[in-house]
Amino acid sequence: MIRAEDLIYRYDSRNDRILNGVSIEIKEGKRIGVIGPNGCGKTTFVRHLNGLLLPTAGDVWVDGMNTRDSVAVRKIRQRVGMVFQNPDNQIVGMSVEEDVSFGPGNLGLSPHEIRKRVAESLAMVGMERYARRPPHTLSNGEKQLVAIAGVLAMHPRHIIFDEPTTYLDPSARKRVLEVIAKLNRQGITIVHVTHDMDEIADADEICLLHEGRVALLDRPDAVFSRVEWLREIGLGIPRVTEMMWRLRQKGVNVRTDIFALEDACLELSALIRPQTG
């Protein structure tokens, strides 16, 4: 479990607080979407969860360990993996397999164990055939999958994805999102920071950060129902949901807790074709 208690962060004493008292508890195995207007501190927040940043005040606990504990941070970073936005700037190895071996190498594992984990992780993301390739020959989507494999090789329990699909084309995006869903099904906690509501419409919970605090922490349907307020603070909602809201505003009697295209189709087709039988 990952827990933040009254997390306050400011870069230094001359700057404003970026995080102004964030408290949240993320249970193991859950999938949390983290959204918020630009500059609200999403990235700053998640970087506290693996100890990359330390709080100015407040605490962050990962599986009972405090991130301020410099001895525990090693273990925390093994437990909490992080995939970043820019696919290129995560890859340090001169070949795919060398990069994936970076994490296990930092853990001091035996060469045999490292090779095993590299093979497993590459298989998990479907990149086995690319093992010997140099990174500059890969597409952004492939690089991002390699980055994910690199994190998986450390056998984390929780993985943070910080806007992982920003640089990806639609098909690469789909692939990465599928991998994320697969990992969650295997029980890995997922913290998914994103700008795109569609990506987290089916999360267990959505955490909305606004002005350095947790403004909302609830199930997706509850969060997305605050359409007007979300729009006020500069956020959108899944396009499908928005469509249902607008229909409702026009007087059409449809449910608005709809986030997936298929559900919208079902709902609308029930309207168009009256139920028989």
């Binding site: 693996n50 970073r77 700037n89 995560q90 001169m94 994490g103 190498g105 490292i114 994190v151």
Partner: protein, 259 residues
């Protein structure tokens, strides 16, 4: 690069331990520079044998010398004209004298450098950058006791090498983007060329700093710390490696005798 790029292959030389190859290159380079014509001939014979053994095309090797041909020519000419000794008859009519000694020292000195480039090229052409870094790290590892951070140095070199192709692409991208905004590269008055260069360098430097920042975060997130780490492949010496070491020792011995 004056030293050749890696040519994929599976020859005997390709399969040698990189430590042995690096060590051999260093030893041969030192011997080339210290020795005279006899040593030079010995090493030349050895390197000649390596060409078929490494299955490197002569064409590839020749390409390694192209950037340094001018240097070689100058070196030869300097020795040719400025060495004292017995003049070669037809030349005194010109202001400079050419001596037999000059011819000899010119040839030998130039050939010494040829051998340097040659052995270094065989090293880089038969050894993958990954292996080179690995080899250097292993060779430096015993020095950890006296404070040489072998793992960190290897990491630095490795990351730098990994980004070379990425940088080249980035330079291209920035160049094209700036050209679309009206920058003119490669021609024009100095002012214009300077501004064009800045329009290329400034974004490049800024992006590189940003890149480094991101990379540090990613490395730390994956548990990187200064100091001890393990690797996927540990180098092991095989029979061929020991044979190679013996050969190098033999050459060193012959050099000592010949001196």
């Amino acid at each position: 690069m004056p030293i050749g790029q890696y040519i994929p292959g599976d020859s005997l030389i390709h399969r040698l331990d990189p430590r042995v190859k690096i060590g051999a290159t260093i030893v041969l380079s030192i011997l080339s520079l210290k020795g005279g014509a006899f040593t030079g001939a010995l090493i030349s014979a050895f390197l000649l044998v390596l060409i078929p053994l490494s299955r490197l095309g002569v064409r590839h090797l020749a390409r390694a010398f192209r950037p340094v041909l001018i240097f070689f020519a100058l070196l030869f000419l300097v020795h040719l004209f400025f060495t004292d000794g017995q003049p070669i008859p037809p030349f005194p009519p010109w202001r400079v004298t050419v001596t037999y000694e000059g011819l000899y020292t010119g040839a030998v000195t130039t050939w010494q450098f040829v051998l340097l480039i040659w052995s270094a090229s065989i090293l880089t052409m038969t050894t993958m950058p990954t292996e080179l870094v690995c080899g250097i790290e292993r060779l430096l590892r015993p020095l950890k006791r006296i404070g040489v951070p072998s793992h960190d140095l290897a990491m630095m070199v490795s990351v730098a090498l990994r980004f070379v192709p990425t940088f080249l692409e980035e330079i291209d991208r920035i160049k094209v983007a700036q050209m679309a905004r009206g920058a003119v590269f490669g021609s024009g008055p100095l002012i214009r060329r300077t501004r064009a260069a800045i329009s290329l360098l400034l974004p490049l430097v800024l992006r590189t700093v940003r890149r480094a920042d991101d990379l540090v975060a990613a490395m730390e997130a994956r548990g990187y710390r200064r100091g001890h780490r393990t690797y996927m492949k540990e180098l092991t010496m095989g029979r061929a490696d020991y044979v190679a070491m013996v050969v190098i020792i033999l050459i060193t011995g012959l050099h000592a005798i010949g001196a």
